[in-house]
Amino acid sequence: MPVITFGYQDLQDSGVDIDPEKLIEILPMIGSDIEDFDEETVKVEFFPNRPDQLSVEGVARTLKGFLGIEKGLPAYSIKKTSMKVYVDENLAKIRPYISFAIVENIKMDEKKLKQIMEFQEDLHWVIGRDRKKVAIGIHNLDVIEAPFYYKAIDPDSITFTPLDSINEMTPREILQEHEKGVKYASLINGFEKYPLIMDKNHQVLSLPPIINGELTKLTTHTRNVLIDVTGTDLKAVNQALNIIVTSLGETGGNIKSLEVVYPDKTMVTPDLEPKEKVVHLKKAQEITGLDLNLQDMEELLGRSRMDTEIISPEKLKVIIPAYRVDILHEVDLIENIAVSYCFNNIESYLPGIATIARENQWYKVDNLLRDIMVGLGYQEVMSLMLTNEKRHYHYMKQEEDGRVEVAQPISMDRTMIRKSLLNGLMEFLEDNKHEDLPQKIFEVGDVIYLDPDQETQTKVLKKIAAVVTHSHANFTEIKSTVAVFLESLGYEMEIEPLDNPSFIKGRCAGVKAILDESTQISGFFGELGPEVIINFQLEYPVVGFELVFDN
């Protein structure tokens, strides 16, 4: 999740005069997690639904409302210009959307410059899906001239100097050689033509979503900026633009709009027109459980930086600022009411809903099996379900068969989901080979088998396995264990000779116990073969059993 760092002084500059101690107390209540703080700065994590709070100006805007310093919809005036951006029809299949805005009279300094860069990167992540969906470019307006052109160009047809470079390069060369070009190449190198933004004089502003030109680079002397947002999702493109523009507008920047001319339509951006939604009094009362009236709701929504209008004794019209991209539904407004009320002030009580609890049969059986094994003196262990073929099959001398395989394993150690518990127990013994013997351990757990008839094409089976190791561990010991285990469950043990490659030939028994037609337990037990024991680096005999419950 995105993390931003700012100073108490920055907040004060943005109009929030608050004691640092009080700030630390309050920040969590607006929906953030304080990662760290010291005497001058605080580092907070915000949830990804609120990209508008990823700048100090955005945080200040929220805090002003929450603290009642400034309530209601923040006002941003936009001056319309006739500057135009022409969009090439060939971009429709590459990166179809672009929005522009101008912000003038920004008080730029080193700190501000750094904050803008970080804000931009955070937005790339949170809204932009690492630039795939949305990418933002911010340019020095004073070195370029309208109209602007958003074009699909031949990758070799033009050269320009990319940001932080001294050489002119073609777009194709940038993708192959420039650090950022290589990093983001996959976003456009599948297309015949690449997107490019130019000005009237064919000066290159940007090769979105890869890199800007060196020409329009921001410096501490920059006062007026042009912002471009390109992307594959028009809604997200405009949201990102609105969030940046309103954040810059908070500290006095003058916002100007441009006309974006598509082949089939013209749009004026940025469009900061607030959204309207209705919230119902009764619904808010019922869901929050708070004793609210319409006036309370107006006050609380005002503290959430929204304007309201009572349209009936039951309904409130809510006017939502354009930077709030998280409000999808009336329930989100109800949430804002509760947040402004402050969670700390909400008293809890238990619901008066009488229900009778039922245990799940599956887990009930698990516990029964555990009880028996613990009573027999076995220590329960737990293993991960992710394992690998080497340990699951090869070490146990078993043939590979159908299994659940992970598409992108975290490591070659965790490539599949277990079908058996035995190798997990052997690994446990391996990890504990220097500990005192005897060691008697068991696991009750889920394994997954393939089953094309099921919705998920798999089925979960319950297994139990146990192993014993000490210098005299033998067939009789494990046979006694299996027999008493099954007897404790009310089953008779029926056994027959079984050739199982994990076990010494002639020292393995297949076991079956049938309770009724639908329920049966089957499995095997015996003395593990010397190769298997050695594969797990063990030095003493090991005996064990594994049973599966099928019903």
Partner: protein, 516 residues
Amino acid sequence: MSKENARIINELHIYEKKVLKALEKSRQSLIPEDIVQSQNLDIKSVMSAAGSLASKGLIKVQKDTDEILSLSPDGETFAREGLPERKLLEILYLQKNIPMKDIGDETGLNPKDVKIGVGWLVRKKWANIDQGVVKITTRGEDSHRTPQIDEKLLHILLEQCKLSSSNLEEELKDGLKLLKSRKGLINFDKITDHTISITKKGQNLLEDGIIIQEEATQLTHHHLKTGKWKNLNYRGYDIQAEYPEFYPGKMHPLRRIMEEIRNIFLNMGFTESRGPILESAFWNFDSLFQPQDHAAREMQDTFYIKNPSTSRLPEEGLVDKVKQVHEDGARTGSEGWCYHWDKDVARQSVLRTHTTCVSARFLKENPPPLKMFSIGRVFRRETITYKHLPEFNQVEGIVAADEVNFRNLLGILKEFYKKLGFEVRFRPAYFPYTYLSIECEIYLEEKESWIELGGAGMFRPEVLEPLGVETPVAAFGLGIERLAMIELGIKDIRMLYKSDIGWLRNLPLKNGINLE
């Protein structure tokens, strides 16, 4: 009799008593052999009883070590036949001088003995060598009939077989020195003599009276059946003695915590549910209103499956409703996510990333009012470190009813955490499938800080409407391993799955269970 003496006497083995009795009778120090005879015991029993009595301070065992001399086979030959220099002297006495080169022929001695003999002739000053001729000295003449001290000792040893080196006469001690300087004639053996005497404490005990009764260590089936126990004394044990280690069978500590949580929910009237571990993206994400381009759905964070790569989607009606709600909010009043929802993306199989899909499935099948919980394994694409595992357990609970509200959700959470032994506080949070979302923080006394443990919220209409649920649903969940680490006081999450058996064996059972 003092209590202490009574205890000591009770703990005495019958052999120990017999040794004490022997000392009482003789009223003087004894050697073990005396006791063997008088008490009819074997020497091993006497020594072991004496050792044990000495460690209790009841007797004193004095050890005297002595060196015992005996002849080696070579020594025996020399003792019988005379030393080589003696043999040479016999001849020399008659011939007075013999050239070195003729000695072998004249005496019939082998070259080795000739060499030794000549050496000792000179050393004992019985002869000297002048220009290759051995000549007898006056001293040699005098010694002709007189055995020397070393020869005397050899003869005595031949007669007596063994001699204690400490009891030798002074003269013979010098002889021993001479013989010692010749290799391999005499064997030296160390022996230890034990002298046993009673101590004051032992005397004291004897005065109290020790009764020797037939005694037994183990009460046997035979004793009980025959009534023999009536005449037997069962000796008391030293209860502080070492004992063999015995290993318990226990439930895994993480399992105990899962059981604790399970019981809390059952006690609060929640019904337990269970769902697939390998799940379709549809149930894991789409049914929970997570847009198909949501970051959490990326390969980076979620385990997708190579085999079987897809799952079947549920009934068409439900799939359509979910599609609509994603695209434009459908009839929920939501804006939706405004994108084209793709069935194929929903079909992909994943290892479930949370147990919330169990809640969604349960809501589809069961009408409110209801309370449900589920505990189960979930998966995230994390590398294994002390902080993270790619799989862990999660618990999830929901309450669905017409009248359930946000304050109820807080109430249930407070009660739940209280039962776990924690104070809880809440702050706003965000999850794609809830509104009035909260993060729960619990207070840790030992860290004097609040830490995040669990999330909650009300299920969004976009989640509920396609499932056909018309009441509000309060939902909450938490990761169990994190709680377990706090309760068990461990810093490395791997300890739970790659456990040290010693840790599992030694962990007190109260851990993980709130004794309150």
